[in-house]
């Protein structure tokens, strides 16, 4: 398909760009296959705005006489306004943007066309392979093995080809367990806690149905992870009620009678459209500057966003607590095991494992627990807060996860190697990107699309020192402890870096942040200088002493 067919008016002059907290700028607007480009004419202050069509969440047009106005709402929550002279130009441009921002085919997306201008040092597609992860694991325990049972994605379409399972369970048994779990997502290892050898596994719901079906192999598999005489905890991310209702549709939960060594805890985390609506309401509240205090607080409350944050964090803390404090192994699942389950398992690892708080470790966590674990990014991130569509599979599940990480980061500002910008960057790229990393819904789709061959990985770009330096936390000091965040409502805050980013000037906050970094940098310089001077003085002294001895 030719993009040119979709672009009826590729260029418009005398367009005025309005953005909050900036003066309006006049310039030229250009449309290309993947970008909306605005370039101001003034020589002294040339300004360019490049916007990916895929970043556009919705577009509105208005007319006053022959002056058309297009309001573009982006997935990163920014809103810009373009005044375009000429009714026809405006209509053409609007319809082009609409068509280009809602392309059906993944292979038409920008990552397939993007040619990087930087030198790739390390291929991000090969940076986080399961075998490497397993190597780390096998250095501390021999109770687990790599299984290639899903090599052709034949057992579970949403799992990666290689998974880690208990050594004592053979592939035959796994195949049987897969038939007993929703979407064939049989229990696999998510995290091994080196401190006490406890593990966290994840899966989807068991297909017990109304007649209480059971599966011996399933029971055997998860029991295989328990130490003799030890109990484990199953954390079901649905309420008991929802879990019970799931039985009518063939799903269900583990009956205590059949899993006597396990205790089930229900921790309700909301799903899909409830989360999507929450995001829409929250962004709506943040974007209206005219709200009085009562209205703002009641809108913030009505959005329920912070309630979801608290629920997710609480469940993750609970899982971490079972592992670290109770010395028990944990199995986490909801219904499909691709959303709330992953929020819980990945956040629990951030709490427990210092490695996940480094940049590389966090990237590896996102790859393992989100991309390879089959979180359907393409469906969930198809639209953001300004979508009008009522598709049921869109949900800010990943954004909620990032928000939770931000909450922990705020409470432990020195324990993370990365900064807030890193999290914001991941949010942006999950929704619209020149990189192929977040395309597709699972490894199966990614391999069919040949993403590693045809697109560039986000990690190839991020993990170069030029980029990394932007995402490093100057306060970082490795902290090997488990970090327990507070989930009291007074401790949770609105993530201003994302939700108020375009709604308030941040000059003073940015300057203060810069000053903070300067103090840290200056400290390092001074330390180095003192060291050098001391050494010089010491050398002079030894010289003197040698002379004395002569």
């Amino acid at each position: 398909m030719e993009f040119a067919e979709l672009i009826k008016t590729p260029r418009a002059d005398n367009v005025v760009l309005h953005r909050p907290f900036y003066l309006a700028v006049e310039g030229t607007l250009c449309l290309t296959g993947h970008h909306l480009i605005f370039s101001s004419r003034r020589q002294d202050n040339a300004e360019e705005l490049w916007l990916l069509h895929s970043n556009i969440d919705s577009i509105e047009k208005r007319f006053v006489g022959s002056l058309g106005t297009i309001i573009i709402k982006c997935k990163d929550l920014r809103i810009i306004q373009l005044d375009i002279p000429g009714m026809e130009e405006c209509l053409n441009i609007a319809s082009s943007i609409e068509a280009l921002s809602t392309l059906d085919s993944v292979t038409l997306m920008y990552p397939f066309f993007y040619r990087p201008m930087f030198e790739v040092i390390e291929d991000g597609w090969r940076a986080f392979l399961p075998d490497q992860e397993f190597e780390l694991l096998s250095s501390v325990t021999d109770e687990w093995r790599l299984s290639c049972i899903n090599k052709e994605f034949s057992v579970c379409p949403s799992y990666p080809p290689i998974v880690i399972v208990p050594k004592s369970i053979d592939d035959e048994a796994l195949r049987k367990v897969a038939t007993f779990r929703h979407g064939s997502r049989f229990p696999v290892l998510s995290y091994y806690h080196k401190k006490n050898g406890m593990v966290m596994m994840r899966s989807s719901q068991p297909l017990t149905g109304t007649n209480g079906r059971r599966c011996k192999e399933d029971e055997k598999l998860i029991n295989a992870t328990l130490r003799p005489g030890k109990r484990g905890y199953i954390i079901d991310t649905r309420s008991l009620n929802v879990a019970q209702q799931a039985r009518a549709k063939g799903g269900g939960f583990e009956q205590e009678a059949h899993y006597p060594q396990w205790r089930r805890i229900h921790k309700c985390i909301e799903r899909f459209n409830i989360l999507q609506e929450s995001l829409i309401k929250l962004v709506e509240a943040c974007n209206d500057q005219s709200h009085n205090m009562d209205r703002w607080l009641s809108k913030l409350e009505a959005s329920n966003w912070l309630t979801h944050i608290k629920e997710i964090l609480t469940a993750a803390c609970l899982a971490a607590q079972c592992i670290d404090r109770e010395g028990a192994s944990v199995l986490v699942h909801g219904t499909e095991g691709t959303d709330s389950t992953l929020q819980v398992t990945s956040l629990a690892q951030i709490i427990l494992d210092p490695r996940c708080r480094t940049i590389c470790g966090f990237e590896s966590l996102v790859v393992r627990e989100w991309l390879q674990a089959g979180h359907p990014f393409q469906q969930r991130c198809a639209q953001s807060a300004y979508s009008n569509s009522k598709q049921k599979w869109e949900a800010p599940v990943f954004l909620l996860f990032l928000d939770c990480v931000w909450q922990i980061l705020r409470q432990f500002p020195c324990s993370f190697e990365f900064n807030e910008q890193f999290l914001i960057m991941l949010f942006e790229h999950a929704y619209a990107s020149q990189f192929g990393t977040f395309l597709g819904n699972n490894e199966n789709e990614r391999s069919k699309l040949k993403l590693p061959q045809k697109t560039m990985s986000l990690w190839s770009w991020v993990n170069r020192s030029e980029e990394l330096s932007k995402f490093q936390n100057p306060l970082f000091e490795a902290n090997s402890l488990v970090i327990w965040p507070s989930v009291a409502p007074q401790s949770l805050q609105l993530w201003e870096g994302v939700f108020l980013r375009w709604n308030r000037p941040s000059k003073f906050l940015d300057e203060a942040h810069e000053e903070m970094i300067n103090i840290i940098k200056y400290n390092k310089e001074l330390q180095a200088k003192v060291n050098a001077l001391r050494r010089q003085l010491a050398e002079m002294e030894t010289d003197d002493r040698m002379q004395e001895n002569l």
Binding site: F412, P413, L509, I520, A538, M540
Partner: protein, 598 residues
Amino acid sequence: FPSPFFLQVEQVKLLDRFSTSNKSLTGTLYLTATHLLFIDSSQRETWAFSRLFNCPTFLHSDIFGDNSLHCLFLYLLAKYEELYAFSYNPKQNESEQVKGWQLIDLAEEYKRMGVPNANWQLSDANRDYKICETYPRELYVPRTASKPIIVGSSKFRSKGRFPVLSYYHKNKEAAICRCSQPLSGFSARCLEDEHMLQAISKANPSNRYMYVMDTRPKLNAMANRAAGKGYENEDNYSNIRFQFVGIENIHVMRSSLQKLLEVSGTKGLSVNDFLSGLENSGWLRHIKAVLDAAVFLVKAIAVESASVLVHCSDGWDRTSQVCSLGALLLDSYYRTIKGFMVLIEKDWISFGHKFSDRCCQLDGDPKEISPVFTQFLESVWNLTEQFPQAFEYNEAFLLQIHEHVHSCQFGNFLGNCQKEREELKLKEKTYSLWPFLLDEQKKYRNPLYNPGFSPELTLLEPNTVSFNFKFWRNMYHQFDRSMHPRQSVFNLIMNLSEQNKQLEEEIKELEAKIKWRNGQSDAILAKEHQQSAHPAPVALKTPPCFKKEQPLIPVNGAVRTIEGSNTADNRYSEFVEEFSKAEPAVVSLEYGVARMTC
């Protein structure tokens, strides 16, 4: 012990509200005039100012389940002389005490603003508190306001609080003036008062009209007319622009804070209960209203160069809030540590904000209690959040001042007005807080402070969109450590910048030594045979051999320690409760308060 026990209760159980261990300690409780002391079976002492329990801000009705004990704690002092400030002895000699009280000199402050000048003068009308008992002796008024005008105007103003200068803006030649409401009723007028206002507008050569800000909601002001009070009729005063700004009265504020504390003190609070509680309390709405009023005032002065007269009913609560915040936004001096003390002395202490009544220092009318000053501090805190580099002081400074307003340890905030303070001989019998704060100002410095912050424009223009106002967790959960970030960026930066100063010093020292040594070795080369000329080795802090570069001064270890490694502290305790059953609670004492104050 500072004074004999009033009461001693055996077999008391102490519960730490901020610990979730649910284990109570049994011991003996003592009450003294100034402190509350709990000694547990292992002789560990827990101290608290008994004052703080009277402090409405932190009085939780569930402190004591037992009624007799409850009565015990509602025990309040009837006389100022029984307050801690009168027995507090910081081992200062008399001259230090006097010097301490002289630290803040308001005459100096008016001089700094640029008064007296051609248009403004010091009036001796109130030298003996004859015209207004609740004003200070020294008042600045327009030169054209003669004594009869002052006297006449004061008779037309509630409690005699006639319009006087609060802040003078040198560049704009505009003034912030303050007063109480006029006794206008439905139609009364007073020529002297009209002259007074005219004198104020004439004292400003750059603008002929002035603003009159009534900080009350219009309805309240109108209701006051029935009682023979009210507000200025624009028809009677020439060249005034009258404006209501709608800050609620002390009673609304008191119940608002009570609601807020109820919500924040609830255990197992959900996010929505917290947010709706926050909304229902109206607390942040009030803070926003106060700051909005200050912004309005500042615009009048900075944009229109117009003078502003601010009043409420009596002119000592809302008026103090708005005048002081306005000055703080206009003048960067008030954003320094010393300047902030001056501001409080001027607009709050000297102009008769009734600290004793509002903070319930003595057994008084509970309806007089109100967190007006707390709101001022909270507004300042909100500004420090928006302008992290504009203030020399930090949050700890605000919290410390807040504590001492209620602790009654120092004389500054005792009493309701200057006259009362003089009668109490506070300057002889008690100590001033400010020198103590200055002595430990290291703790209160903002490491990010930039004195040159927008130098051409010292004006702060805060954004008062609702989402900028946040719940002040460090105030209302000061002692609930589990709720705060476990690592403080602020402390870390403070230590680093402190360390930077030390390192700079050390570099100077080292460089000097090296230079000196270079000189010496030249000398040695010159007269090699003279062994005695060799200097004694300079003492080194570190061994002379260096193998590896290490950080030289460890950043205070405590800062980076991770607290809250106890999961039970983190509010996801439903699960924990299943493992350990709680003991029945008898007495729950705010352990945290004691920890902090003693």
